[in-house]
């Protein structure tokens, strides 16, 4: 670790050492939409230093110049990233390209030589990030060959650090996730591995921890004595688009619940960590995921709902059904909607159901976590209709219109004891100005500075897969019962209403 006395007392101490980011999948969609714009914005904001180097790897033959031109055109198309030729020119001096067949062992020798050369000319000091932005099937091949070429090991006593960022999915079930991890751990130490879930980089997701553990008044009521149930919704108002090939193999449970939704649940249900160190936070998240009651096949039938979208209208525009989408088999049983009732077996959450739901082509795009509190134990306003008295709700809006709302009951002005629910609103946009940092900017910078707090540790990943596995298995085995359908633009299948409905609860209207 380099000590720089000019950083002493610095208010912004997050500038990383110069390093080299090798992007496997350097011409792919993720690189185009997220990685390059985020890196360029960090460069503009002086958050990554001179000498920072990007090496893009992909199959097509291209020169450095052609690759730079392609990246520049991406930046120019990105509405949120202001392009400036003077700045781009110096940024581009640190961009290089290498045509690569990931399955050719000789390629890794060439990459090693290129990295050694950049260490000299761009002073990157042996610091590396390998970003796996390829098809998941390529991960084991790339990792093994990095290992066999000695490119994964940090030199003892040396100055360089080596990290790898792995995009989800981390496997497609428990076994493949364990297998992938075996390969990863044969080359990298766990401290070198950054499993990225971009949801965790969102400002509002991070604010859940601040809200819970920097405010003294909420933690005493954050438990089974006061909370009736918790709802997590991750709804999208778009279909699968051009991702049919991927989605057909994944489905909503793998695509959203196993990672994003369970990570949100972990943040809202975890115990207070002793401090904000990466391991303390990640250990508490892992603990709560381990405490979720596993599903038996019978539970799967009772406590889960899957469905596929059929044709309908979203925002007045006609939307096709899932089976009519490009690349989808007409017999597909892949779910585009999943809802679960989860139980956490620990002292804090015993008997508090966690209802989670996610789906595509729903009525609107919204991600929200809501704690629905128990009603008053005794209602003293006898003349008021009790139907007016709703539960208090604390809702974290993750996207869009990020913020926190507390629903309380208030008296309507006048002689009668009329009551109405009203919202106390905190909105990021109106309280802290218009700009929220992009999740990828935050997470890339965290990785460069060696802070894994917002990345998934392997025990969390495996706990999440363990929980999903019986559901995946039971759904896969059930080839006879029809998959429920929901019209595009609706809030999901009627069957999902029964999950909370059987307990006299209901999904929130969002």
């Amino acid at each position: 670790m380099v000590t720089n006395p000019l950083r002493h007392g610095w208010r912004i101490s997050r500038s990383p050492e110069p390093g080299c980011m090798v992007i496997f999948g350097g011409s792919g969609d993720l690189t185009r939409r997220k990685l390059i714009p985020a890196l360029y914005r960090l460069y503009q904001k002086r958050m990554i230093p001179a000498g920072f180097t990007i090496i893009g790897l992909a199959r097509s033959p291209m020169s450095d110049g052609q690759y730079r031109d392609m990246l520049r055109s991406w930046i120019e198309q990105d509405a949120e990233t202001p392009a400036d030729s003077e700045i781009w020119d110096t940024f581009a001096q640190g961009i290089f390209y290498m045509p690569a067949d990931y399955r050719d062992p000789a390629m890794y020798g060439a990459l090693k030589s290129l990295l050694a050369e950049k260490d000299q000319t761009r002073r990157t000091g042996g610091n590396r990030i390998y970003y796996l932005a390829t098809a998941p099937a390529d991960y084991p091949v790339i990792i093994r060959d990095l290992g066999s070429n000695g490119m994964g090991m940090e030199r003892t006593g040396g100055t360089g650090w080596i990290r790898t960022i792995i995009e989800k999915p981390f496997g497609r079930d428990l076994e493949s996730s364990r297998e992938l991890n075996r390969v990863v751990r044969s080359v990298f130490e766990e401290e070198q591995v950054y499993r990225i879930d971009h949801y965790l980089g969102k400002e509002t997701v991070q604010n859940i921890l601040v809200f819970r553990f920097a405010n003294g008044i909420f933690e005493p009521i954050w438990n089974r004595r006061y909370v009736d149930h918790v709802q997590i919704t991750a709804a999208e108002n778009i279909g699968i688009g051009t991702r049919g090939g991927y989605y057909e193999q994944a489905g909503a449970l793998r695509d959203m619940v196993q990672n994003h939704v369970l990570q949100l649940l972990a943040l809202v249900a975890m115990e207070p960590p002793p401090d904000f160190s990466p391991d303390a936070v990640r250990s508490e998240k892992a603990k709560v995921l381990r405490s979720i009651r596993p599903f038996t096949p019978e539970d799967v039938r009772r406590l889960s709902v899957r469905a596929q979208y059929s044709g309908g209208f979203i925002g007045g525009k006609e939307a096709p059904g899932y089976l009519e989408e490009t690349g989808i088999s007409p017999e597909s049983r892949t779910e585009t909607y999943a809802a679960l009732r989860l139980s956490i077996d620990n002292w804090r959450w015993a008997n508090v159901p966690f209802f989670v739901r996610t789906g595509k082509n729903l009525s609107k795009r919204v991600t929200e976590i809501a704690l629905v509190f128990q009603r008053t134990p005794h209602f003293i306003f006898r003349q008021a209709p009790t139907a007016q008295v709703e539960s208090n709700v604390l809702a974290f809006r993750i996207q869009p219109d990020e913020g926190i709302t507390l629903k309380i009951i208030a008296k309507l002005p006048g002689q009668a004891a009329e009551m109405r629910p009203v919202n106390m609103d905190f909105r990021y946009g109106s309280t802290f100005g218009p700009h929220l940092a992009d999740a990828y900017e935050r997470l890339l910078l965290d990785c460069m500075t060696g802070d894994p707090t917002l990345f998934n540790r392997i025990d969390s990943v495996e706990s999440a897969w363990s929980l999903m596995q019986p559901i995946l298995d039971t759904w896969a085995e059930d080839r006879s019962s029809p998959i429920p359908r929901y019209p595009s633009g609706s809030w999901g299948p009627a069957e999902a209403e029964g999950l909370p409905g059987r307990e006299n609860r209901s999904w929130r209207l969002l």
Binding site: L6, S15, Q44, R46, P49, A50, E86, I87, R123, S430
Partner: protein, 381 residues
């Protein structure tokens, strides 16, 4: 709704009594939400008190507050002392207005309220109490002493007692070195518990950032302790006095790197100082150049030479909108260009209000800058 007050036409004053002002604000917001008008969100994340010299300065201040409120929705209190003849009785007046913006396209307007408060005669002494009664409870209080003027010091010190942060702008003292020395001393001797900021410190943040970044690299890090020469060129808008930013930048380098000052001397628009560290001598030279047309006033370049072979430069080229950093050591030459940050008053305030805690680097740099300024003023001392 947009009701940005203007200095010429502050509107009809209301009684400068907290209850009267709040009542007026309630009816003001009620009318904003009446049928047929676009939706409005009244937002407030802090109290911002801006102390200005006189009514004339409000003209410059109100657009600044409007821009700041887009990022830090606040209750803004623009406070000034009026000459006796300017106000009719009573001796203290208040005016209210609002500033609105639309942070997201298609979203509702977000509005912040502004209260202008003026006093004359003996009522000026009760201005801090009046301000206190108008603050929104439980939200942080930031005090911006816009036009540093020594006669206002007692009032500002009383306002600072209930503020979390005092912001000044030493750039505004440029015409008067004695005034600046007083300001620097005031900042150094400030009461404990109040964080302090100087917008001039914010102006050099990009420069400090790029200089510090050179030495984050493991292979260049050693040079930070081998610096032997520092050359700073500065476009002078007011020749004669050494610019505060240059002093602060030198103060920052010296305090961070443990340099001890040996001497300081001035010859025309050239200032030089000699420092010592670990048995090594460091020469720091400032050269003032006259601002050319189209060239913004401010630091033009900073060059550090180290270890006999390494040269680190940060500079802004004429006509460029970028700040460029270059590092040459051995065979490698690295270049980094970043956009020049807006240095207007509102942008600087927005930045300072985003990071409101104690700034240890500023504190240490300020102490060195003050001593250096004194040494240039009285070289024999």
């Amino acid at each position: 709704m947009n009701n940005i007050p203007s200095a010429e036409n502050l509107g009809i004053p209301v009684e400068a009594d907290a209850e009267a002002v709040e009542r007026k604000l309630v009816s003001f917001w009620k009318s904003a939400g009446e049928d047929g008008k676009p939706a409005v969100i009244r937002a407030c994340s802090c109290n911002l008190i801006a102390f200005v010299r006189d009514r004339g300065r409000l003209q410059e201040l109100f657009p600044v507050l409007a821009k700041v409120s887009e990022w830090h929705p606040s209750r803004s209190l623009a406070v000034f002392v009026a000459p006796d003849e300017e106000l009719s009785p009573p001796d203290m007046h208040a005016w209210i207005g609002a500033q609105c913006s639309i942070p997201f396209s298609g979203g509702p307007q977000v509005c912040s309220e502004t209260i202008a408060l003026a006093a004359r005669n003996r009522a000026r002494l009760s201005l801090p109490d009046a301000v206190l009664s108008l603050l929104i409870p439980d939200l942080p209080v930031y005090l911006y002493w816009r036009s540093f003027w020594i006669s206002d010091q007692d009032l500002v010190e009383r306002l600072a007692r209930f503020s979390h942060l005092l912001i000044v702008d030493s750039h505004r003292t440029r015409e008067d070195p004695a005034n600046r020395l007083r300001l620097l001393r005031l900042l150094i001797e400030r009461p404990a518990g109040i964080a302090m900021r100087d917008l001039n410190w914010s102006r050099i943040t990009p420069w400090r950032d790029l200089i510090a970044q050179f030495f984050d690299s493991a292979s260049l890090n050693r040079y930070v302790h081998e610096i032997t020469e520092v050359d700073i060129t500065r476009n002078l808008s007011a020749p004669g006095s050494i610019p505060t930013r240059t002093l602060l930048l030198t103060g920052w380098l010296a305090s961070s790197l443990g340099w001890q000052r040996v001497s300081a001397e001035r010859s025309g628009d050239r200032w030089s100082s000699v420092w010592k560290s670990r048995g090594r001598e460091i020469r720091v030279r400032f050269t003032g150049t006259e601002s050319r047309a189209g060239q913004p006033p401010g630091i033009g370049s900073v060059t550090l030479r180290a270890g006999g072979e390494a040269v680190f430069s940060v500079f802004v080229e004429g006509g460029s909108r970028c700040l460029t950093a270059t590092a040459s050591a051995g065979e490698s030459r690295l270049v980094h260009s970043v956009p020049e940050e807006p240095l207007d008053e509102a942008s600087l305030l927005i930045r300072e209000l985003s990071q409101t805690g104690e700034d240890a680097a500023f504190k240490a740099a300020l102490a060195e800058a003050y001593e250096l300024e004194k040494a240039f003023s009285c070289p024999q001392s």
